[in-house]
Symmetry: C2
Subunit: 286 residues, 2 copies
């Protein structure tokens, strides 16, 4: 899976060159971000099953950035890729329902329905509990989309909260989160390949956890970030693929978009090469 | 504090009437949302210290919605109100820094700096740990803005995760979150009124927690949602105001915007009356 985390200060030169010659900085930068993401999708997409745009990177360019995000989602879908909006949203129920409308659903208005981003799935934060997740899952289900719930993230700070041992059984908080994911997935329709429509974000930097995750969530698709720039290694992830190739989505962002910086060549050809290398590594496990 | 959670299906009639007569539904609905929020700010703002726009409600209208959000932030600031972007963001460090740019900071681009929303503070989700919060706090500090970290939310599901007892000392997870908030606030500059620039979201539906929260976070500003429609009562919140009137921000959204539905009168005059009633109730405690 191709992560799209565009930094306006690190776009491919061709994308910068295609931005409008004048206008407000947000408008020009968003145009360049849009071209950069389309070029990255065209280059690395054929080696990927999905793209994962990081919403923060677009939101920082305001309304122009949101328009670039919507264009990027459309471009990826037209290329036959799934789109997972990396939003990490979580809120009380009425607001959670609004986030589902924004990312995968439709909002009724007196002027007609307004379609959201049109993603195929999005990431969600479970801190606020089951009644905050259920409207996200319900909204996704109504749109035939999926949700990936944060269970154990790939950053060192995950140890601060997600790894805390609970008094009830001595298990870690992330094990409780994994149970909730499995429970939410049980409520859904049976999926293809025997997989649920509620998945889990499982940081690839903690490979010792992956087997236990699979035990707790036998039918969840695992979204596995942290490969490449964050230090994870795809070779450690075999348990994720226990239900088959569709059981794990390995994500890489900066290692693909910036492959030319270490390996040389044009940005596009280096990105394609790195994406193909990661695909081969992931499929050798499954 | 005035919560702004605009639902395009429940806008004030005058706002609907001022929307453009044609154009895409998202554009027309976003225009109506903008007028609705401005009218609500003009009516209830004089009884409030701050507004709290709920980002989900704007994002569901796409780029037009984000533009309406930016206009609403500008309108509130021009009216002399503080703006707290209710975003509940949380992500790994690079992404967290991008969220801070989007909400309170500035993004450097080859075309010039792009200013973010220009909020005075935003809400943050701590699940990913201290290294996910620090870039939010650093980004806010650089912009002379603040962060409100979720500690114990106002929804019933908060019991699922936030109330879990920890093995280490039998305390609740939210008590550990409160300690982190206090620790992050200790790293900042001394604030006016002896208050820190890192605050806490403390659900007003759990008044039995408020005194313990104040003990753990003596210098944090408490953002207290859950008044009105969510069932909380302002009269239960006295401990929040122990450091003085600035120690607590009581938030109400639907009970103000929809006050005319139960009490009659014009939407604007009913909203003003309800906001003034809540202000009097909150100040009687402090």
């Amino acid at each position: 899976m191709l992560g799209l985390d565009p930094d306006p200060a690190k776009l491919w030169p061709d994308a910068l060159a295609q931005a409008p010659a004048d206008g407000p900085p947000a408008h020009r930068a968003a145009a360049a971000v849009r071209v950069h993401c389309a070029a990255l999708i065209d280059a690395a997409g054929p080696a990927c099953a999905a793209v994962k745009p990081q919403l923060a990177c677009f939101e920082r360019l305001g309304a122009d950035g949101w328009a670039a995000l919507a264009a990027t989602v459309s471009h990826a879908r037209a290329a036959g890729l799934l789109v997972i909006a990396d939003a990490k949203r979580g809120d009380v129920s009425v607001t959670a329902a609004a986030y589902a409308q924004a990312l995968v659903g439709v909002t009724p208005t007196p002027f007609g329905d307004v379609a959201g981003l049109g993603a195929d799935a999005f990431t969600a934060n479970p801190l606020l509990g089951i009644d905050s997740l259920q409207p996200l899952v319900d909204g996704a289900r109504a749109a035939h989309a999926g949700v990936f719930v944060l269970v154990r993230t790939s950053n060192p700070g995950a140890a601060d909260i997600e790894d805390l041992a609970l008094a009830a059984d001595g298990g870690a908080l992330w094990e409780r989160l994994a149970q909730i994911v499995a429970q939410l997935g049980d409520g859904g329709p049976p999926g293809r390949c025997g997989l649920d429509d509620v998945g889990a974000v499982v940081g690839a930097t903690g490979p010792e956890h992956v087997a236990r995750m699979r035990e707790l969530m036998p039918r969840a698709v695992f979204l596995l970030p942290g490969i490449g720039a964050q230090g994870g290694r795809v070779e450690n992830l075999a348990p994720a693929f226990a239900p088959g190739r569709a059981g794990g989505l390995v994500s890489a962002s900066r290692s693909i978009a910036a492959a030319h910086e270490s390996g040389g060549g044009s940005p596009a050809s280096a990105a394609r090469g790195e994406a193909e290398r990661l695909r081969t590594a992931a499929w050798s496990l499954s």
